[in-house]
Subunit: 308 residues, 2 copies
Amino acid sequence: MSKLLAVGTVAFDAIETPFGKTAKILGGSGTFVGLAASQFGVETGVVSVVGGDFPQSYLEMMNAKGVDTTGIEIIKEGKTFFWSGKYHNDMNSRDTLITELNVLEHFSPVVPEAFKAAEIVMLGNLHPLTQASVLDQMAVTPKLTVLDTMNFWMDIALDDLHDVLKRVDVITINDEEARQLSGEYSLVNAAKKIHKMGPKYVVIKKGEHGALLFNEGKMFYAPALPLAEVFDPTGAGDTFAGGFCGYLAKTEDVSFNNMKNAIIYGSNLASFCVEKFGTSRMESLTSDEVKNRLQAFKELTQFDIEIS
Amino acid sequence: MSKLLAVGTVAFDAIETPFGKTAKILGGSGTFVGLAASQFGVETGVVSVVGGDFPQSYLEMMNAKGVDTTGIEIIKEGKTFFWSGKYHNDMNSRDTLITELNVLEHFSPVVPEAFKAAEIVMLGNLHPLTQASVLDQMAVTPKLTVLDTMNFWMDIALDDLHDVLKRVDVITINDEEARQLSGEYSLVNAAKKIHKMGPKYVVIKKGEHGALLFNEGKMFYAPALPLAEVFDPTGAGDTFAGGFCGYLAKTEDVSFNNMKNAIIYGSNLASFCVEKFGTSRMESLTSDEVKNRLQAFKELTQFDIEIS
């Protein structure tokens, strides 16, 4: 069992969807990655920062799930990062209503000693220089480094992004971001160009349309499980990434073939995440539920044509 | 080996894509369905209508592929249906530049005697009353009737569409049309409602995002093969449907499990169709090419998680 280090946000979210509206609830990429990875019993350390307003009970919930929170710095006089958004009826697009960076503005991640040799590192969607500073702190080169990013960093810090991309193995981005980063419309061609920037593996997240994994000519596709209702998509992408990294950490096998399984696990966990607001579904999720839904993924995708 | 009866258009297309522009070339849903089904050596009869301007050589090409064209009425004094369209850079949206119905305006399909007992019937995208008139002519109830339709018929002939839907087993529509027909945004819920209208099987085509097959609670998903270049999407949906029907006709097995394979075959053939303008790629396609790409579909989708 490998250790997983996950750097990302731990935050308050306030979410409005056609199904309802929340007060400030627990959110953040680091939170969702940690909760997803905890499904595999992997030792996961989350590195982040929160303010004095962050409830101790949230940290305790994460600890109870097996998430190590010693890397979550608490700035007593500061306020926790806060994001508020409203989803449109199609659940695929949303408006950001509020973004208060607060303590995140001067976030300088410090990797705890216990995770400086983590075999798998997940660099959440942060400034590329912040992501690079995490790699600088590692005592040994990780077996696998996964980086998440977004169009915002391509717009304001492209050179820094290119620098850190040279140091990572896997990039996870959505289809529009892959097109922006590569200048290619075709995702096949986009992946080719992104390989040349560094990452040998390119994971393209397409939301309800699933996810594609590219590895220098090889491809794998995992659908999103079609659901009767998507209640709240917040955190689905991070849960996907956490499931991906968590499975690889558990199995200690970072081959392309095993990444196929990891992508399926990521999609599987993400399909639960969207069933309730915020982290609540991931908090209550059991391993039996995960297993049953894996069977649904098999039935959804597996066929038996004999090629004669 | 079952017989396949395919009713649809046989037409001239003039297509513009970012890759180039064609003069009037061979097109039409019946044409693409027939060419796709011919890959399986299935006896396929196409029922359609063309004008005196339709080249004999096109009919001969279809005959050479094993497509029976005795059901294609030739109205000497009339002109062949003509469609012209221009695709946008994303290849997912297009503008129709010209639609000349011509002989199609008064099309009254006549099913040839040799196909009145065809086991599989594919009702192409035509007026629902025209589709119904084909079923009225069948000497025996087909083993499987597949119907394709579009938003246009939902707008102007919804009652007629509902009437014919009661008589078919499979409907193929795209995601937006499924939403329009059912009034449900979620495709899972849309399929449930459409089942109640008649079709036990609902195939939802999502273009570059693949296709979903629903059968009263059961689901199967086939991705579109990610391609470096989509040259011309015209006919891809009809080729998909022709591959689906052709495979079912060849294997004489219309179970849900075999429909999974049929969906994969449909996606496989459609991935070739888009590589060149019009029918040209389907005309040159060999069975070895189809087999090789089936292997690519397996690698793209198959994984081996043991559920313990």
